[in-house]
């Protein structure tokens, strides 16, 4: 019960803001986040944000109380409530965010927390697959949305939604409008399970029922709706907006309500009706009229109330009978009267029967539909079809399991404990009371939310009885059609089964194919690039280097101009000859010791060149390191197989490697010649030279740079040296003492590889 304290406190807090917001005030709170990019961590509460915040925290209380009882006996309940709370806070952050990037961060946090919640019973593979599916679909949509929001910020020259709205910038006239619209809507559609991304939501029913009630009906899936409502003042009002939203929303609403009748799992059925509700909301937000916006906002509230209640009731049935299959359930009214009452009240609201709140919502919808700016009859037809199917679906959930012949249960089902009915009953009663007395919320909550979307104060007055008019007629037709569908439900199911077999593909199958293809692509490119062969990696690196430098030289036309070899003193020629001779001997010798000595010669030649440049410290260090390195190599490498033993593996000079080597070497020479042909910017050196004594009291400028001016670099360097030394020490000293047989195995493998 403690877990409900935070949402309860938040609900009270948001409720206390209602009078201020209803009076037209806007509250804003911001801290600098990334000042360099002019990004603020900013929040804003207006009518729309506050409505969502109230729903999120209010339904949160109900669900948390319910879950405290429902989740008893589940492992890791603590984790469950922590993630639920995090999810709730992320939702609040998303709907209260003013900065679009803040919005994005919280948006993706809801995606992440929902991933953990869908996959909460992570022992089952279907849960994991459903969680991953939801994460990928909504996450990829979220990334598209981020791109759209960034473009929006570039066009409007601000990332603050409030600034964008106040500035009056006409985004719809910008050439980038099309891209912004598509990207933002992709995010919203994916999050709110619009066609063709709808399939993840029914699969997400793998989550525990409180999660389904909270995330996948009341809150998270509404985030896409929220985004569309938020963006309507900025992006709406165009032909593209109208067509995209109404068509996608209409298809989603009708398609999902049809498929809902095919489901036998009560949760799946509810999931499809949720998709239908989201489609309807999209449809009406697309219309963009004040009536349509009012209908959408009202339906949003109504949907939260009845859908969360029905989910929780189904959870109670599942809890009591251990099944959610509607074919296996009947006659529960006698043993679970309280659950029946709750479900019935919510079902009647869902069906839109007076005097429930749902009826008002349906009337508003029809009113908006018949006054739609274009294709009014198409909109009305879609709404009517979806609503009629909704009535049938409501019957399947709220009536069918409770009526009919009572079954013989091994353990007789009974109503759930008080924690599991108190919340649903409050929601169910609220649906009835608000239906009878809509004036309780219409001016306080709905009107400010509509005003935030429409941009001006709406003239709305909700009431049950509108008189005999077209919407009422449509309501009557809807109810009649719905009852007909419910009565003929078995035949409908049969037809749908036939229809399903006739449809060749589905969006979900496309998702599966895309995922499988992605895996194949990953395996292919991993085999190509991560083949585990050092030589291959180096070839790739050097090859890329050759191509890039050559391409840059050819494009830029930069070639070395003067290469004067006459100014070099004789001892520099000697050092160069020593280095090159040492390098060649290292390559061609068949003896390890000869190679090590040749490397020593290379080091000494390098040291001579350092001296010729006045680099005394460097030359000293080079000589000392060279000495120690020869000692080190001599100790270790003479224990390794000699070149001679392995000579048959080396087939002369390898042409490919030699070609790469010559190319890299020539490019290196060329690049150096190009660099030295441009004048040197000596400012940094001049600074060190003139400040070495006054600032750092040192006469050896190199040493002063090392230990004073750039001491942090040196600190990093000695840390690397210390770590490398420790690692080498550990490699030698901390090896497992192995038995001799094992050792000989290793050796014999060596012999095999040497001879094979």
């Amino acid at each position: 019960m403690i877990v409900a304290a935070l949402p309860a406190a938040l609900t009270v807090f948001f409720a206390s803001l209602v009078p201020e917001i209803a009076a037209g005030q806007v509250l804003r709170w911001a801290v600098p986040w990334i000042p360099g990019l002019d990004i603020e961590f900013s929040f804003l509460a207006d009518g729309l944000s506050l409505l969502f915040s109230l729903l999120i925290s209010g339904i949160g209380v109900v669900v948390m109380v319910y879950a405290a009882a429902y989740m008893q006996g589940y492992p890791q309940v603590g984790r469950f409530f922590i993630i639920m709370t995090l999810f709730m806070l992320s939702m609040l952050g998303a709907v209260l965010a003013d900065n679009v990037l803040t919005l994005f961060v919280f948006w993706e946090l809801t995606t992440l927390t929902s991933y953990f919640l869908i996959g909460f019973t992570h022992e089952t593979a279907t849960s994991r697959a459903a969680a991953l599916q939801a994460l990928l679909v909504t996450g990829i949509g979220g990334l598209a949305m981020l791109a759209g929001l960034v473009l929006l910020g570039l066009v409007g020259d601000s990332y603050e939604l409030s600034v964008l709205r106040a500035s009056g910038v006409d985004v719809t006239a910008d050439p980038l409008y099309g891209a912004i619209l598509v990207l933002v809507l992709l995010g919203a559609f994916a999050k709110s399970a619009q066609f063709p991304f709808h399939f993840w939501l029914p699969n997400a029913m793998a989550a525990p029922t409180p999660v389904s009630a909270y995330l996948h009906s009341a809150t998270m899936v509404k985030l896409g709706i929220y985004l569309m409502a938020r963006m309507q003042p900025l992006l709406g009002g165009t032909e593209a907006w109208l067509l995209t939203l109404t068509i996608v929303g209409g298809i989603t609403a009708v398609m999902s309500s049809v498929w809902s009748l095919r489901q036998t799992d009560l949760k799946q059925l509810l999931a499809y009706t949720t998709v239908m509700g989201l489609g309807t909301l999209t449809l009406f937000l697309g219309l963009g009229t004040e009536a349509a916006t009012t209908a959408a906002i009202a339906f949003l509230i109504i949907h939260c109330f009845y859908k969360a209640t029905l989910f929780l009731a189904v959870g109670a049935i599942d809890h009591a009978t251990h099944t959610r299959d509607r074919d296996a359930l009947s006659g529960l009214a006698r043993v679970m009267p309280l659950t029946f009452g709750i479900a019935l009240a919510a079902g009647l609201s869902m069906a839109g029967v007076p005097p429930f709140l749902g009826f008002i919502g349906k009337e508003l919808m029809y009113e908006a539909a018949v006054t739609a700016p274009s294709a009014a009859w198409l909109v009305a037809g879609a709404a009517l079809a979806a609503n009629a199917l909704m009535i049938a679906a409501a019957g399947l959930v709220a009536l069918q399991p409770f009526v009919g012949r009572a079954r013989d249960w091994p353990q007789p089902p009974h109503d759930p404990p008080v924690a599991m009915w108190i919340g649903p009953i409050v929601l169910a009663i609220a649906g009835l009371v608000l239906g009878l007395a809509p004036h309780l919320i219409d001016q306080r909550v709905i009107a400010p939310a509509v005003a935030a979307v429409a941009g001006h104060d709406p003239h709305l007055h909700l009431k049950l009885w509108h008189g005999f008019n077209l919407p009422l007629l449509l309501s009557v037709v809807t109810v009649a059609a719905g009852i007909g569908l419910y009565v003929g439900r078995e035949r409908v199911r049969c037809w749908l089964g036939t229809a399903e077999r006739l449809i060749p593909g589905s969006a979900e199958r496309a998702y599966d194919h895309a995922l499988a293809g992605l895996k194949r692509l990953a395996a292919w490119q991993t085999a190509l690039l991560q083949h585990g062969q050092l030589r291959g990696y180096l070839t790739t690196i050097f090859g890329t280097m050759i191509v890039l430098i050559a391409a840059a030289s050819l494009r830029g036309g930069v070639w070395p101009t003067d290469a004067d070899l006459t100014d070099a003193p004789a001892f520099a020629w000697f050092a160069s000859a020593l280095i090159i001779a040492g390098s060649v001997i290292t390559i061609i010798t068949r003896y390890r010791l000869a190679a090590i000595c040749a490397l020593g010669a290379v080091g000494i030649g390098t040291a001579i060149l350092f001296v010729s440049h006045g680099a005394v410290d460097v030359a000293l260090t080079q000589l000392l390191v060279d000495t120690l390195f020869v000692v080190l190599l001599a100790v270790a490498l003479l224990k390794l197989p000699s070149f001679w033993d392995l000579r048959h593996r080396e087939t002369g000079l390898r042409v490919g490697a030699a070609a790469i080597a010559v190319a890299v070497g020539s490019l290196m020479t060329m690049v150096l010649l190009v660099i030295v042909s441009v004048p040197l910017d000596r400012r940094l050196t001049a600074y060190f030279e003139s400040n070495s004594v006054p600032l750092a009291h040192g006469h050896n400028i190199v040493n002063v740079i090392l230990v004073d001016f750039r001491a942090l670099d040196t600190l990093g360097e000695i840390s690397v040296v210390a770590v490398a030394g420790l690692a080498a020490y550990a490699l030698i000293k901390l090896r497992p003492r192995r038995d001799p047989t094992h050792q000989s195995q290793g050796r014999s493998a060596a012999d095999q590889s040497a001879t094979g």
Partner: protein, 140 residues
Amino acid sequence: MHSLILATATRLIAALMLVFSVFMLLRGHNDPGGGFIGGLIAVTAFALYAKSRGVDEARRALTVHPTNLAVAGLGCALIAGVLGLVRGQPFLTGQWITIGGDGHGHGGLALSSILLFDVGVYLVVVGSVLGVIFAMEEEI
């Protein structure tokens, strides 16, 4: 490999090299030298000692475990950096005090966090490299 001549000469040579390494460390700020060079000379001295008289003897001569020496060196460098922080200046800012002298920057013994830092470099080089060399001489 055991050579009496080498073993005898090493005692003297290694001692001289060690003195020289400290000399190089201390003069590094004004003349060629410094922590790296000094450290490498000291490593060479001990490597020579280990070659001619055995690693055990060289470890005894060093008395401290090389790894500890490396960590101590890192600690010196860090302390030298923190000294700047203590005075309210950025990390690793040089701090100087002069003991004795005429008070006008002439004569006396100038001590600095810079010197401490260079000593840290010296110790890290000695500790890390000797750790590897001793271990390799013993185990390989």
